[in-house]
């Protein structure tokens, strides 16, 4: 009987499911491009760089936000298995710290992982974290060194490092060049040879794990699944085990690398499902899909509801854009189960939304997409983490916004902490430690990865890394350090809310929850910043920072004394009238805080740089690991 490699009819023994673990600019997308070419699934004329990264924003930033799975037929070329036909499913993983959970689900869909490391740079912190995740999941790891065509490549050095990390021999590290294609065919052979085939029960009720779910404007939600047990057929009605929701299956298929309809997918296979559902929340990553007519009894393990870790207020600069912002968020939500938001009103900024994100990169991506795809101009308030506050009477509240922070009556406050891993050349260890200690970090351990590279492990309050920690880390290490972190519970801390008062009125947008030792610095720096940003008014305006009713810092904006053009003669009238109209227009963009007119620009400038006290940074980009 001839071998069939058709979906739904492929012997699980011929299937190899793998992902590529890599740091963002280490060449994963280029290697994937080469695999598409060598396996013949993409016509050379249709090939384009970074074929699998769909969104413009991803291609521009070099970040893969959403994973995708590609089915690649492969006939082994060399060795004792030469001529053997296999099906490879390459499952792309999101490459960023905010998406750890998605990464873990992608890994759970695989039996093996290709650990790809730039032969000129060595492993980075986040790759290391994902490697540990893969090893915990018992994945077979194939280490490869990429970019061996580069003059700066040091494959021997980094092969040692990899061997040390995963407990293999340096010569086990394959050497490839995604750019030239060298070693790629050998890698594909090794994937077939080294990785285990999937194992599952073909005659049991269907259990398939959702490892990705995206919203497509034309087709609704597309759900990517890995079948563990049973067989999903095109006419089945599927059931989501976390919610019990049942959906008609409109289409089923595989990606290779364009979608291809199929009649069924069976044990070990990877494919997509379309149900016409319009919201990715109904098809959540990590959930188990079964068949309604013959449902599985127990779901696969590992499902988690994505929980926002960082909150920020998003406000349209032009208040009349509020409905547009709501529509744009509603649209993005369809494609992003982790995005949370609810309407919020700020006395200073008007109507907007309190939004919850997985992390700062997530925040930035959402904000950028809102601005780019919906043409909105937005202000985002300083991001904050989620606090658990225990009151004197023993009751408990969750604070996602400084304005909800109770005044008085606070018994204990708990803040979230992260376990952070920093990889740095050993020259910068002192500087990194100084940074972490300044951010209330606790050192948990330190290891030499190689003679000149050190892994530092810290516990840090999450609030301390969401401002400019990453920028600081990069600048202190000349860009060499890399960072990874994962949430790790909470700790009790001495926190206070600092309010900023303008002419006696608290400006909610500037309130912040900070450690008591940093409250003074925060107050002083914001007050000083506002003094330079807010134009002089017709009366003197005090700016105060306060903890409760206690004033901890004060600045004064002196009253304006002169606002008149000295000369206005015949030739000046037209220009002067036009200037006046422009000023009137500008006045409409002013926000009134009590009697004080504050230009939008002052809010934007104060918020965009409201990083931690005394330090100058771009703020809000701690977790970008790709530059």
């Amino acid at each position: 009987m001839p071998t069939t490699l058709e979906p739904g009819a492929t012997d699980p023994g011929r299937i190899r499911n793998f992902c590529i673990i890599a740091h963002i600019d280490h060449g994963k997308s280029t290697l994937a491009d080469r695999m598409l070419q060598i396996t013949g699934v993409v016509d050379p004329r249709q090939m384009r760089a970074q074929y699998l990264d769909r969104m413009d924003i991803e291609r521009e930033r070099g970040i893969t936000i959403k994973s995708q799975a590609v089915r690649l037929p492969w006939r082994v070329r060399e060795g004792d298995q030469a001529g053997y036909d296999a099906v490879l499913n390459m499952i792309d993983t999101p490459g960023h710290v905010d998406f750890t959970y998605e990464v873990s689900r992608s890994l759970a869909a695989c039996e093996g992982a290709v650990l790809l490391v730039d032969a000129a740079q060595g492993i980075e912190a986040q790759t290391l974290a994902n490697l540990y995740l893969a090893m915990e999941n018992d994945l077979t790891v194939i280490p490869i060194l990429n970019k061996i065509d580069l003059p700066a490549a040091q494959p021997e050095k980094y092969a040692e490092e990899l061997a040390h990390l995963i407990g293999c021999q340096p010569e086990d590290c394959l050497r490839v060049s995604g750019k030239t294609g060298e070693g790629v065919s050998h890698l594909l052979d090794e994937i077939v040879r080294q990785l285990p085939a999937p194992i599952g029960e073909a005659d049991q009720p269907v259990r398939a794990m959702i490892f990705d779910s995206i919203y497509d404007v034309y087709r609704g939600v597309i759900t990517y699944v890995r079948v563990i047990d049973g067989r999903i057929e095109a006419r089945d009605r599927i059931k989501m085990m976390s919610t019990g929701a049942v959906h008609e299956l409109l289409e089923l298929g595989v990606i290779s690398p364009e979608p291809k309809k199929a009649g069924a997918i069976g044990v070990g296979e990877v494919g997509y499902l379309m149900t016409g559902v319009k919201d990715v929340r109904q098809s959540r990553v990590g959930d188990t899909v079964t068949i309604n007519s013959k449902p599985a009894k127990t779901a696969l393990g590992g499902y988690k509801d994505p929980k926002p870790m960082v909150y920020s207020g998003l406000y349209p600069i032009d208040g009349s854009d509020y409905p547009n912002l709501r529509d744009a968020l509603d649209k993005l939500k369809l494609n992003d189960a982790a995005l949370h938001y609810e309407p919020e009103t700020s006395a200073a900024l008007g109507f907007g939304f309190r939004c919850g994100f997985l992390g700062l990169l997530h925040l930035e991506i959402i904000r950028e997409r809102l601005e780019r795809e919906s043409g909105l101009e937005l202000i985002s308030t300083a991001p904050n983490v989620v606090y658990r506050v225990v009151l004197d009477d023993g009751s408990e509240i969750t604070v996602t916004n400084p304005s909800e922070y109770p005044t008085g009556k606070v018994a204990h406050v708990f803040e979230p902490v992260v376990r952070a891993t920093v990889l740095t050349p050993n020259d910068y260890v002192g500087s990194v430690m100084e940074l972490c200690q300044g951010r209330r970090g606790t050192l948990r351990g330190m290891d030499y990865l190689s003679a000149d590279r050190v892994e530092l492990r810290y516990t840090l309050p999450m609030a301390e890394i969401i401002y400019d920690f990453f920028d600081q880390l990069k600048s202190r290490t000349k860009g060499y350090a890399s960072l990874d972190y994962e949430p790790s519970g909470e700790q009790q801390a001495e926190l206070v809310k600092v309010d900023i008062l303008l002419h006696g009125e608290a400006v909610d947008a500037f309130s912040a929850i900070v450690h008591k030792d940093k409250a003074y610095n925060y107050g002083v720096s914001i007050a000083a910043k506002l003094r330079t940003l807010i134009p002089r008014q017709q009366f003197e305006v005090p700016i105060q920072a306060a903890i409760g009713s206690r004033i901890i810092a004060r600045e004064t904006i002196r009253a304006i004394r002169k606002d008149v053009l000295a000369k206005c003669y015949g030739g000046d009238i037209t220009r002067k009238r036009k200037l006046l109209e422009k000023q009137k227009e500008g006045k409409k963009r002013m926000k009134m805080v009590g009697r004080v007119e504050v230009p939008q620009e002052a809010f934007i400038a104060a918020l965009s740089t409201s990083d931690s006290p005394g330090e100058k940074g771009s703020g809000g980009r701690p977790s970008r690991q790709d530059k």
Binding site: K562, I573, T574, K576
Partner: protein, 406 residues
């Protein structure tokens, strides 16, 4: 580089005006402005449309300038033919009008007289730099029909004059003012500039004292403005000189008002003080009261019946347009009713006579009451139905204007 012109609509080549604009010419007075775009040298702070002799050639030259202006006078006479009426005021500004021979200025004035007629009580002013006039030239100007002169004094402090690139010596302006009175000028103005970096309170007090002592009946005082594109602005940007400080300017303004009031002057416009109502500059009042005027010369602005237009800026382009028989106008705007109301508030509020509260929109009336409350508009005048700035209000006049407008 001289400042740039506003954007506007095209002007018909014959310079003709919409018939509506001609309906009530002169109802609020009719004036003539003549721009003389020449200076002996350029002052670093000045952004007026003016050129030194070495910058000009061809049709823009100084010696043929009067003839060029006469061509525009002829054009104005054609456009206004049906509605022409005697001229109430004539003002020669610049630049430095007195760089032209008094006979040239006289010829232009005579042409205006021939085209429109001069009212019996016509006010004829020329601006002059103190060093560009002599007792003899002043007598010739007087006999040519000029009866008011405005001299650029700026300051008596040598270091201030130096920073402003002014060429006259500290005592020269006051001397020229005395010479002008001796030549028979009815009205003499001295222009002062305050707030120049390096100027002390005493420097300015001395300048005010010298102006008063010169016996003039009119003083204008302007805060130094750093205009984009000037040499002065470049020096400030490079950090060679500090930018003028608004708080200092406010102090100087108060000092000016105090010293001039004590000497018997009264403010009639934000930057202008006169010894008596008849000493006020009627030509400038015409601008602030929405009157009609025709401005001759490159870059000159005109206003007739709700149409504002402005000529091409460069003297050569100006001469070329006229030589080709067309209008030298660069662009114009036909004011909508709303624009005219805005201008009315914007200009009249600068005057001591202020504006009638009834001319304000309801929101403006509320703002006016607020402004009275915060001491920016006079309580007494408000009770008489007028919006008139207080001393503090004059310093914040633009803010009050913005508040009064819808």
């Amino acid at each position: 580089m001289p400042s740039t012109l506003p954007d506007g609509d095209p002007v018909p080549v014959d310079g003709s005006l919409p018939s509506g604009a001609l309906a009530s010419v002169g109802a609020r007075g009719f004036g003539i402005y003549v721009h003389v775009p020449f200076c002996a040298s350029r002052c670093g702070y000045c952004d007026f449309n003016t050129y030194t002799a070495s910058e000009l050639g061809g049709g823009g030259a100084q010696d043929s300038y009067a003839d060029t202006v006469l061509a525009e006078v002829a054009l104005a006479a054609r456009v206004l033919d049906a509605v022409a009426r005697p001229v109430d005021t004539v003002f020669f500004g610049g630049g430095t009008p007195t760089l032209l021979p008094p006979d040239d200025l006289g010829r232009i004035l005579e042409a205006v007289n021939k085209a429109f007629g001069l009212a019996p009580d016509v006010e004829v002013t020329t601006e002059a730099n103190p060093e560009s006039v002599t007792p003899a030239s002043l007598r010739r100007l007087r006999s040519a029909g000029f009866n008011r002169i405005s001299l650029g004094m700026q300051s008596v402090a040598p270091h201030v004059l130096a920073l402003l690139d002014r060429r006259h010596t500290p005592g020269r302006a006051a001397a020229a003012a005395i010479e002008a009175r001796a030549a028979g000028f009815d009205h003499v103005n001295l222009d002062l500039i305050y707030g120049t970096p390096g100027e002390s309170g005493q420097d300015f007090a001395d300048s005010l004292g010298a102006a008063v002592a010169a016996g003039v009946d009119h003083v204008s005082a302007y805060s130094l403005i750093v205009e984009d594109g000037t040499r002065f602005a470049a020096r400030v940007r490079r950090g060679e000189i500090p930018a003028p400080d608004d708080d200092v300017a406010a102090d100087r303004y108060l000092a000016a008002d105090e010293a001039l009031s004590a000497a018997g002057f009264a403010w009639y416009e934000v930057s202008n003080w006169a010894r008596s109502p008849t000493a006020a500059c009627r030509h400038n009042l015409l601008y602030w009261r929405g009157g009609d005027w025709w401005g001759f010369g490159p870059g000159a602005h005109s206003h007739i019946g709700g149409v504002r237009w402005w000529n091409v800026k460069h003297p050569s382009a100006y001469a070329g347009r006229l030589a080709a028989g067309g209008t030298p106008a660069h662009a114009r705007e036909v004011l909508a009713e709303a624009d005219r109301r805005v201008e009315d508030v914007m200009l009249r509020l600068r005057l001591a006579e202020g504006l009638a509260l009834e001319s304000l929109a309801p929101s403006g009336l509320v703002a006016a009451a607020d402004a009275v409350g915060s001491g920016l508009l006079s309580v007494a005048e408000y009770e008489r139905g007028r919006a008139v700035l207080t001393l503090r209000g004059r310093l914040l006049a633009d803010a009050v204007v913005r508040a009064l407008l819808p």
